[in-house]
Symmetry: C2
């Protein structure tokens, strides 16, 4: 039996407190021992990626305490409950099954009268067939012409993950001949968002993918109407230009407004839904079903590693535990995600949702207030851009921000120039490693304004190239990291009650059912 | 004479400490008094914008203490020193003159043997003439054809500000017939960035704008070579396709590689350079010189307000002081910028650089370590997108993050649909005001998981529409806010020594002049 204990009741927290001033990065990274540490503190991930934690504030003693934390919180047993289909999202009385979209880690999960793995695979197969038919010109527009562009209409989890993955692979797909259709995204209820995307599309050859699990998301239904209006104005039939990805119980599922409907269920949270039809639809249309399958395979391979009891073979758990150590024991409030790959430009925005929506909680999984800090602020931009922007604060600001670097040996487009004896890709990577050492070890200087205190902890995920497989591994790594941290903090990482109040008040404002301050604010906008 | 005192030596800090638990947002925003407060706590900004601070933790007592802080730190006198041309950037022995690019607030500033206002205006005039000639087809490509696209090559301050401003006005310009040329941006040394942008351009009709003040920025020179290479491969003459914006002393200034060179000087910091030729070049090409002049006029109008001694007539100073109060007295570590306007999608990234690079410092302006916190972490995404992402943590996370909302009554494209009795724009704005009330006042609930503690402080900048003028006012507002905060913290907001160490180490890596841990890291990337 697993026990669900609050973080401040754990014995291992005391063990961690005792070793918290154990490591100086300047010391452990010095000399030949430092070089050895860089080589040794590396854990294999899926698809040839590695998680390197040489510049984290850990040593054998800290690792032992982290192991104790993992054991005491039974995180692997809790993960097993989750993938075996127990109701881990207790607040909403739901299973949590996004792993099952990409592989089966445990028992058969039977729910709603069906084997859920079969259900997910069936929906993937339906989408694969549909996408192949679109690409082959079997599913066409009113005039019998091929669709060339796919536009996702969705917000939050129905937008950020799929969009980040699309941007991550767009250039790779162009280079390798895998770009079947261009993809675009409409998310914001701001009418300028939909207007601008529609103006950039050849509507007659555009297929829309309407994504809402509940089928009731205000922004998404508004944008659906916006798009239908635009299609009609061009003399096009909206029902010949739109598919939907939704749950079988949603009002969209039974509608005749769509060419086809593909289904997820309540066991897939929005921010974890890239592995479900929410990602499968747009990404299979854009890149073809085989590429999408490769993403899932990379994710599935990473999920398997997340079961390993040996911390040095479980990069997702190790990353999670180090993150908790930094957040609760060292007291750092934020984490910056710094991919040295322009293709990952929107990956930090996806992680920002994934992490902050999952673990930005003040009550434990039983709804009781907690007395310790939970999820950190997540932000980031691609390097080297960030170096010329907010890195000043990261290097010399008054608060320490732990850093998560990501880098690849090779570019995606494999188009490069040699300037001053090195390619751009080498320059990019020289900057990753230089930054890690600068953050970790700093530099003394007689002039304090030119001195760097160092001791800023950095991890590095590195590999050969950003491909569908490595992207899937990255996606799963962070999902699993966030899940493990939620277990350690004893919170429910799978609900989001914090989004409700704003929605309710917005409805009141639109119904003019307000008074006092809310009405006064609404008056500022002449609503 | 002004005195430069550390923050922890100030008497007014004690006054602030005494009133720090004075205000409960739930109380002050309740009932009719709350509605009155919303109306009253509003300060006019330039161009019809307003800064509303009704949901900030202030009342008359706190305002009095903030006024005392402003007086004791002599921030307005320091601002006057700055705009009168004193060497305020003492570490680098430089004046700070970006305000002078958009207007003259004080005395003539004579430096380098010239009147600097005349110099900036002359350069703007040169760019205006050049852009008009490009638009009129007087400056053309080798074949005598018009340029249709402009691509900025620059990084950091030469990228984020101009890019954010371009994106902010692109749709407005399309709608109002002011889009003269499409603009694109290459920044990252990642070769996939330049490759992808170039692949999307018709090179024969593309004009490049190479931007580097020093003329030595690694990324920018590498991307210049990348672009020159691509032009040559197409049989085009790079020197007929490129202009530069740089300083007169830079190696680029004397080069024959460019159609024309436009100049800034050392008194314009990168992150403050949108008002100089760095912004003028690309934005005048994209929108025409008149639109660019309107941006500067909006900024100049806001700058004038920043001189007002009455806090209730000085939105930039008021915002700055409240920010210091939240950072140092209330202990909040971050600020989220939440524009309810898709056009401002990259404005938070610009502000992230502006704020974190300016005030992410641990030494005072005399180079002595400080014993208090300085600049916060800045992050943000447009609403309503963010509501479906990281707002969960903002509402119910364990740390309080102050929030800066921005919204407009009207959309830019003025294309909208009515769904359920309201336009998308009304829905967008209903969400802004609903969120402010939800963050400020929260909601009690028997189930703690559905309860909202509230007391999350919010400010709101609102106006009619995002136009060149209001955008200029926003730009200047935040520049001035950051400047005032730097004065209060007694730091130099105009240098960035924190970017140097990484650059040096990257050079060593590329020269293979490394050992130990740095070499071991480089080996991971096979550099």
């Amino acid at each position: 039996m697993v026990e669900w204990k609050n973080f401040d009741e754990l014995k291992s927290v005391k063990a961690l407190e005792e070793v918290k001033d154990e490591v100086s990065l300047k010391e452990v990274l010095a000399g030949e021992a430092g070089a050895e540490r860089v080589k040794k503190y590396t854990v294999p991930m899926a698809e040839g990626l590695h998680y390197n934690y040489a510049a984290k504030l850990v040593d054998d003693k800290v690792m032992a305490a982290l192991k104790q934390l993992a054991d005491e919180t039974q995180v692997l047993d809790k993960f097993a409950l989750l993938y075996n289909g127990e109701v881990v999202n207790t607040g909403e009385n739901r299973r949590v099954l996004h792993h099952l979209c990409r592989g089966q880690l445990g028992k058969d999960v039977i729910a709603d009268g069906e084997n859920k793995r079969d259900f997910y695979v069936e929906q993937q197969k339906r989408i694969a067939d549909f996408a192949n038919d679109v690409h082959a010109g079997k599913i066409v527009n009113e005039k019998g012409e091929k669709f060339t562009t796919a536009v996702q209409i969705g917000i939050g989890g129905s937008d950020l993950g799929p969009r980040a993955l699309y941007i991550a692979l767009e250039n790779w797909a162009k280079h390798t001949g895998n770009l079947k259709m261009q993809a675009k995204f409409i998310s914001n209820v701001d009418p300028d968002d939909a207007s601008a995307v529609l103006a950039s599309c050849d509507l007659a050859h555009t297929l829309f993918v309407l994504v809402s699990k509940s089928g009731t998301t205000l922004e998404t239904l508004t944008n659906e109407a916006f798009v239908m209006d635009a299609l009609k104005k061009e003399g096009l039939d909206p029902s010949k230009h739109m598919i939907t990805c939704t749950s079988e119980t949603s009002p969209l599922a039974k509608s005749n407004d769509f060419i086809a409907a593909f289904f997820m269920d309540d066991y897939i949270g929005g921010r974890y839904s890239s592995s479900s039809v929410v990602g499968a639809g747009i990404l299979s249309l854009a890149f073809g079903p085989e590429v999408y399958a490769d993403i899932l395979e990379g994710a599935a391979e990473e999920d398997k590693l997340a079961r390993n009891t040996d911390l040095e073979k479980n990069p997702d758990l190790l990353d999670a535990l180090i993150g908790v150590y930094e957040r609760n024991i060292k007291g750092y409030e934020a984490t910056a995600v710094l991919p040295y790959s322009q293709a990952l430009a929107r990956f930090p925005a996806h992680l920002q949702q994934l992490d902050m929506e999952s673990n930005g909680k003040s009550v434990n999984r039983f709804g009781q207030p907690v007395n310790y800090v939970t999820g950190p602020i997540i932000f980031g931009e691609p390097g080297t851009n960030g170096q010329h922007s907010f890195y000043q604060l990261l290097h010399q600001g008054t608060n320490i921000v732990p850093l998560q670097f990501i880098g690849f040996r090779n570019s995606q487009l494999e188009n490069d120039v040699v300037i001053e004896d090195s390619t751009s890709q080498k320059k990019l990577n020289a900057n990753v490693v230089a930054q890690i050492m600068a953050f970790a070890c700093g530099k003394e200087d007689e002039n304090p304004n030119k001195a760097f205190a160092g001791e800023r902890p950095c991890s590095l995920i590195y590999g050969d190239q950003l491909t569908p497989g490595t992207l899937g591994a990255l996606l799963a790594h962070f999902e699993n990291k966030v899940m493990f941290q939620g277990f350690v903090w004893n919170i429910n990482s799978f609900d989001q009650e914090g989004v409700q109040l704003g929605k309710k008040l917005a409805k009141k404002v639109l119904a003019h059912n307000t008074d006092s301050a809310l009405k006064a604010y609404a008056d500022l906008f002449e609503i």
